[in-house]
Amino acid sequence: MNMPMAGAVECDVKTVAKPATPLLSVASLSKRYDGQDVIFRDISFELPKGQVVSIIGPNGAGKSTLLRCCVRLVEPDTGSVKIGQCELTALSHRQLVKARTRVGFVFQKHQLVGRMSVLSNVLHGALGRHRGPRLWAQALAPRDQREAAYHCLAQVGLQDFALRRADQLSGGQSQRVAVARALMQKSEMIFADEPTASLDPRSGNEIMELLQRLSHEQSLGVLMVSHDMSHAQSFSDRIVGLRDKGVKLNAPSHACSLSELRNFF
């Protein structure tokens, strides 16, 4: 979808959410692949400030596609995605690039640049706000940006790995670096697509604790896709369940028992 949707209101991408406004509002969102098979339809939910919202559902339910639709990495067919007051589906390409700087993204497979240092990878988180060669590598970066990147790395406990190549890290360490990169972005929210899927249980718990702590300490909104029901229940404030191409569950996590969540599949 390259053209704004009918009826959508264009807005200033710098618009900041009012206190009561959710960081992210998704309303009646639908997506078909190749205009044929429906992946999901009429999806609505919100991501409030300082909360962790988990999206759960069986394989093929469209969880990752939904997450990508929320920043238009995949274009939704119909519906609305608002970041604060800003209607994302109405933005031009240039405005969209700016709007994306408000959302940090942590992927299942970390998606770091393996041949570059850990500190350079973290520094790349600032590329949404600043352009140019000085953020291409830590050796070229201005002192303040280097310090900020190092501080983000310290927040995830990996300051001693700053100059190590990213492809020499374990899976859990790589995922922490991906979180540090999202922090470097100074975004209002973090989207995490199965952040613990390739990790052992201990590393997975550490990443979940880290995301939850950052959410509460820095009032970040965290929207997470997860297959792990215990993670969804223990670390989320709210759970959104997708099944049969729609939202079948949208409830506070304390209202959902683990057995109920497992039965959801």
């Binding site: 920043v71 990495l73 690039v97 700016k98 709007a99 994306r100 700087t101 959302v103 940090g104 993204f105 992927f107 497979k109 998606q111 770091l112 640049v113 393996g114 041949r115 570059m116 350079s120 790349h124 988180g125 590329l127 949404g128 352009r131 140019g132 060669p133 953020l135 291409w136 590598a137 991906a178 990169r181 999202a182 972005q185 975004s187 989207f191």
Partner: protein
């Protein structure tokens, strides 16, 4: 597992499938085409046998190599190396932006992709000697014409292979930076280039070796370097001097290949 007695005999499948009639027709066509090419190229075993004594004479006249003009020849070898180095490095640098325009995943528009790809193909299909003749006619005799030839030749080679390396680069780091609003140029440099770097370095080193080999030949058409010395020595029947030149060229090419192999091991 033991084979039960009385079990039916196993039919062993044949080693090869029977060739289809199309394979037979294609094979016959190939034989016919190859025979036609042998005739057209005047390939003659009798001429080869008759030429063997001449080869022996030339080889004997090459020994011992003449060292009287060793220093002027060495200077020409250095010029050849300089031509190759300048031509390859400038060609590699110019190939990089062209490769990003010629790669499907980074080109700004399909039309740009097709135009740049077509131009690179055109440059590549014209032989280097034809480019050398063109540049000699344009800028005159000498190494500069050779350098221009090597630049164009390197672009034809590197832009294509760099573009393929860029297309094969892991798209995930690029997607991660796209998701957070990083600009296109930044993403190309920090997410795609490092992923494609091993292949790009490999192609660059190979293009340097290729430029050294090409620069030897370019002198034959007046584009500078050791080739001109070799042509003169052969035309003057000074096979002993030609032997000196060939030995120096061998040392140059072998040296560059070893250096390039070492650099490849260190970088990749």
């Amino acid at each position: 597992m033991a084979i039960e007695s009385g079990a039916p005999a196993t039919v062993i499948p044949s080693r090869f499938d029977n060739p289809s009639w199309l394979s037979g027709v294609l094979f016959v066509l190939f034989i016919g085409f190859f025979s036609w090419a042998l005739y057209g190229s005047e390939f003659s075993l009798s001429n080869l046998v008759e030429g063997i004594p001449n080869m022996g004479v030339i080889m004997s006249e090459m020994v011992p190599p003449d060292t009287e003009r060793a220093w002027p020849i060495a200077k020409s070898v250095f010029v050849t190396l300089q031509m190759a180095l300048v031509g390859a490095v400038i060609g590699i640098v110019l190939s990089l932006p062209l490769a990003f325009l010629a790669a499907r995943n980074t080109s700004p528009h399909p039309l740009v992709y097709k135009v740049v790809r077509a131009w690179v193909s055109l440059v590549r299909t014209i032989p280097d000697l034809a480019w050398a003749l063109f540049f000699v006619a344009s800028v005159g005799l000498g190494p500069f014409a050779g350098v221009l030839t090597l630049i164009v030749d390197t672009i034809g080679f590197c832009a294509r292979f760099f573009a393929e390396a860029i297309e094969e680069a892991d798209p995930q780091p690029n997607e991660a930076l796209k998701a957070i609003g990083a600009g296109t140029v930044d993403r190309c440099v920090v997410a795609i280039l490092p992923e494609a770097a091993p292949s790009i370095i490999n192609s660059s080193l190979f293009s340097l070796e290729k430029a050294v080999r090409s620069s030897v030949v370019l002198g034959l058409v007046g584009a500078g370097g050791i080739g001109a010395e070799l042509a003169v020595s052969m035309e003057m029947f000074r096979y002993d001097q030609a032997a000196t030149i060939i030995l120096m060229v061998f040392v140059l090419v072998y040296g560059v290949e070893r250096l390039s192999g070492w650099a490849r091991e260190k970088c990749l």
